[in-house]
């Protein structure tokens, strides 16, 4: 339960620390009024929660880290916001992110990069880097992010916190700015698995405003949790994964063994293609979803010579380089003559990756991998080569491609920089992730 003094103290801490971190783009000016309404509502009783800048909160600015929405004010509450408010949350502010959630470092934000709380010369990860840094630096206990290819789990790992992506269809995306609709999912950042679980249970559920949310009966039958973990060894040992990450990963494997888990080496034929599938399906959907930013209905308008030229000027100036890159790439993979070679093949591979993972979860309860191939890098270090930045998602995209839930847990350090491990479970089996996650972090239930 929060007190008015605690909320004021939180505001002071953010004021003192945000200058160097750039985790928050804005702290809302009605926080204390929100608190008066929230303080008597269970179970959060006024707990301050930060939200990623792509989630709509009625009457408050939401810019998705983009110039095209610099002055946009949300006209309704996202379903997750409604649910959090009903549960007694105070929505304290909006956090920095890569523009329209496209990136792995927040360097693509139009409002500057978010710094890593463990080393201010390094990135906090992305795209939900502001949310991860806000929790990692103890500015807030909880933050929401969105995860399309790892955008919650990767920054969570780099900032030493818990990051959780629920099963596709568990949490309504009504009021989340759509990036890639077949992949996007909202989830929490927290210091503990228990808190992430509590927030997840508040925001999950069927919502008529998001037709991808499905009822419990759709998920596979609950089977006994046998504490078995599969390790895709050749995938984890692949080139490009740093030695410190591998060492930390195998220490985590040993820890699970000590905790009574059975660990099996597994061999997956298709998972290595998940990233290639992702960088076809995602830009394709991005090119379609971002068509709505046309300078007509909301956001920036730049005047051209006629109506059509308005589009060119508005989108050319309003979108940053990475968004332009992905929209144009998506236009290519969907264009006549290339559609079958890229998008068509990617859909087929997506089905194979999903079926192979689902089959795996008949044999083991969970799959364990590192969350990222390395710790946080220096600002600017990977900005020159987009493909190198994309490879950062290597261990996280399978969960979005297949729809499976996955959680990143803090697993130690490389020097002073945090590292994370990631558990993936079968569709709808968040419960097993929470059990294993709490045991790994030594949390009492």
């Amino acid at each position: 339960m929060a007190t008015r003094e605690q909320i004021q103290a939180t505001l002071e801490v953010i004021k003192a620390k945000n200058g160097e971190l750039n985790a928050f783009l804005e702290v809302f000016d009605d926080v204390l009024e929100q608190f008066e309404v929230a303080k008597d509502k269970a179970p959060l009783f006024g707990m301050p929660i930060a939200i990623k800048d792509n989630i709509l909160f009625d009457g408050h600015k939401a810019s998705a880290g983009s110039k095209i929405l610099e002055n946009y004010t949300a006209t309704y509450d996202a379903t997750v916001i409604k649910k959090l408010k009903d549960a007694g949350a105070v929505i304290i502010g909006r956090t920095n992110c890569d523009e329209f959630a496209m990136g792995s470092s927040t360097e693509n934000s139009a409002y500057g990069v978010t710094k890593n709380p463990y080393d201010l010369e390094r990135v906090a990860g992305g795209s939900s880097g502001g949310s991860a840094a806000a929790v990692g630096a103890n500015l807030v206990p909880i933050a929401l992010g969105s995860d399309t290819g790892g955008s919650i789990r990767q920054p969570a790992a780099l900032c030493g916190v818990v990051g959780f992506k629920p099963t596709y269809g568990r949490v309504s995306r009504s009021g989340l700015m759509a990036m890639s609709s077949s992949l996007d999912q909202i989830g929490p950042f927290a210091k503990t698995v228990g808190e992430a679980e509590m927030i997840y249970k508040i925001i999950a559920g069927v919502d008529p405003l998001d037709s991808t949310t499905v009822s419990e009966s759709v998920y596979p039958e609950v089977k006994k949790f046998n504490k078995t973990i599969g390790i895709p060894k050749s995938f984890v040992d692949s080139e490009g994964v740093s030695e410190e990450v591998k060492k930390n990963f195998y220490e985590a494997v040993e820890k699970f063994k000590v905790l009574g888990y059975t660990v099996k080496e597994i061999d997956l034929s298709y998972i290595q293609y998940a990233l290639a599938v992702y960088y076809i399906v995602m830009p394709a959907e991005v090119s379609s979803n971002l068509a709505r930013f046309d300078g007509v209905k909301f956001g920036l308008l730049r005047n051209g010579e006629n109506g059509v030229e308005d589009y060119f000027e508005t989108r050319g100036e309003g979108f940053g380089p990475e968004v332009r890159r992905r929209v144009i790439l998506g236009t290519y993979v969907l264009s006549s003559g290339y559609h079958d070679a890229y998008y068509g093949k990617a859909l087929e591979a997506r089905k194979l990756i999903t079926e192979e993972l689902r089959k795996l979860f008949q044999e083991v309860d969970l799959m364990l991998t590192p969350t990222t191939p390395g710790p946080a890098w220096k600002v600017g270090e990977k900005s020159e080569d987009p493909l190198e930045m994309y490879l950062e998602d290597i261990f996280t995209v399978h969960a979005n491609i297949s729809g499976c839930p996955a959680i990143s847990l803090p697993s130690g350090f490389a020097g002073k920089l945090p590292l994370g491990i990631e558990l993936t479970a079968d569709l709808g089996r968040e419960d097993n992730l929470f059990i294993a996650g709490k045991e790994f972090l030594g949390e009492k239930d």
């Binding site: 290639a276 960088y279 920036l300 144009i328 790439l329 890229y342 093949k345 087929e348 493909l387 994309y390």
Partner: protein
């Protein structure tokens, strides 16, 4: 992929980009497309099953257009976000 092709894609995407950006993107797309082109290999590995077009069909999940809200309830709020308005309309340039 060359600069001309990128400029024509940008035109389809209704995004104004400069010559230099198009040139840079053409090289970046080369390496990205080489990487994502790997998905072509997956079909060859496919021992699980063959897919037909029907496997990728989606069904309509739109609700019936009914139970509308009271007229004008959101008009002000939504129009306040429009870059240009005239009365209760969004204003755009002449199309034809």
């Amino acid at each position: 992929m060359d600069k001309i092709q990128v400029l024509s894609l940008a035109k389809l995407a209704r995004i104004k980009i400069g010559d230099q950006e198009a040139e840079n993107l053409s090289h970046e797309f080369e390496s990205i497309l080489k990487y994502v082109g790997e998905v072509g290999e997956v079909g060859k590995l496919n021992q699980l099953e063959k897919f037909s077009k029907e496997d990728f069909l989606v069904r309509n999940v739109m609700r019936k257009d009914s139970e509308g809200h009271e007229s004008g309830l959101y008009t002000e709020k939504i129009l306040a976000e429009a870059p240009a308005r005239e009365g209760d309309y969004i204003k755009v340039k002449k199309i034809l």
